[in-house]
Amino acid sequence: MATAELTASDYIQHHLTNLTLGWLPDQGLVFAHNADEAAAMGFWALHVDSLLWSIGLGYLFLIGFRKVADNVTAGVPGKAQNFVEMIIDFVNENVRGSFSAKNDMVAPLALTIFAWVFLMNLMDLVPVDLIPWAFGQFMSLFGADPHHVFMRVVPTTDPNVTFGMALAVFFMVLYYSIKIKGVGGFVGELTLHPFGKFGIPANLILEGISLLSKPLSLSLRLFGNMYAGEMIFILVALMYGHNIVLSLGGGALQLAWAIFHILIITLQAFIFMVLTIVYLDMAHQTDH
């Protein structure tokens, strides 16, 4: 919506601001009207759009799969069951290939990550202005100014979402590391490699960094890819509405990027899943 009263940077800023619900000292509990207000809300604020879309999509995935699981048959499967089985088989193959220990939680976890992250990434393929514009128009019915109503539909472009998932995975890694190896074994793993007991500080730094880099790289990879992808969609959308040549060029670019993006969203969901499996496998390995 690169309209006359909006500059390009305003437009981009609008697209990159979440619908933030938080506490402002002078206004109480409100939705932030601009990025500065959102920042001023500090930690005790919620990105309502990210959460609604992410939980909604996760709910969609679970309800869909649960429906199939309810009517599952060992005989000839229907179309929906075939589809679900294909995904489950794919996830199961990956878990069996990368995860050598026995843990009934890893495969459902991997499936949840793959399907959920894929669905969240898939929102990137919805035309970038469509839902924010519709939401702005809807809210203006209640007297809100559409320029101050924010809506980001791709939850994985919100670092809170990717960090949240990566941190949950990280806690699982810590939990299983301690559960399988014991506190002593886990501490030993962190301090006694690779230089033996005379290089404990160096070992701790090396192993600590490698441990902490896991959730960081896991979340930043997904966030970075999706954020950059959305940014390109936004930049391409800036080309609309100037003249016919730019508009047509923008259309062609958007189509090309969307097709390429199908690969990226699937790949990122897959990478997140595989890395989670690998990290958990490492947590289950007793011999370092």
Binding site: N18, F43, H47, L62, V68, P108, G164, L167, A168
Partner: protein
């Protein structure tokens, strides 16, 4: 781009979704997949077994056919033998019958010949007597000269 409560909310949502998936989604579908794998394995094994059984049945049928053929040949041979036996017997019987008939015929001929010879002799005797009568021109007392006539007749 602010890190805030969304992070923790997302973690909680993630944990709940994983738990739900682990409890209600994954196990039933996995169970069905395993069941189907077992079913298919069983089906394949049954097919294999059926094929083996078919092979065995074929062998058995072949053997039975062979046995039946042998039996049939046996029966034919036996029949042939019996036929020969019957044939021989019949021949033997016929030969016997023929011999008997021939013997009877011979006996009859002999008898007839003897009878004819006797008759001839008697006639000859009578003829001799008549001739002698003529020669002697007197009647010979047949009874007085019976011994003479008989000895004559016997010489004929």
């Amino acid at each position: 781009m602010n890190i805030n409560l969304t992070l923790i909310s997302q973690m909680i949502a993630f944990a709940i979704f994983v738990a739900f998936c682990m409890k209600y989604v994954w196990p039933p579908i996995m169970k069905a997949l395993d069941e189907r794998a077992t079913k298919i394995a069983e089906g394949l094994a049954a097919a294999e077994r059926g094929q083996q059984e078919q092979e065995i049945g074929r062998q058995k049928a072949l053997e039975e056919m062979k046995a039946a053929k042998a039996k049939a040949a046996d029966i034919v041979a036996q029949a042939q033998k019996r036929y020969n036996e019957v044939m021989d017997e019949a021949k033997r019987d016929a030969q016997g019958e023929a011999d008997r008939i021939k013997t009877a015929a011979h006996a009859e001929i002999e008898q007839e010949t003897n009878r004819a010879r006797e008759e001839l002799r008697e006639r000859m005797a009578a003829l001799a007597v008549a001739a002698a009568e003529k020669v002697l021109e007197k009647e010979i007392d047949a009874s007085a000269h019976k011994a003479l006539i008989d000895s004559f007749a016997k010489q004929l």
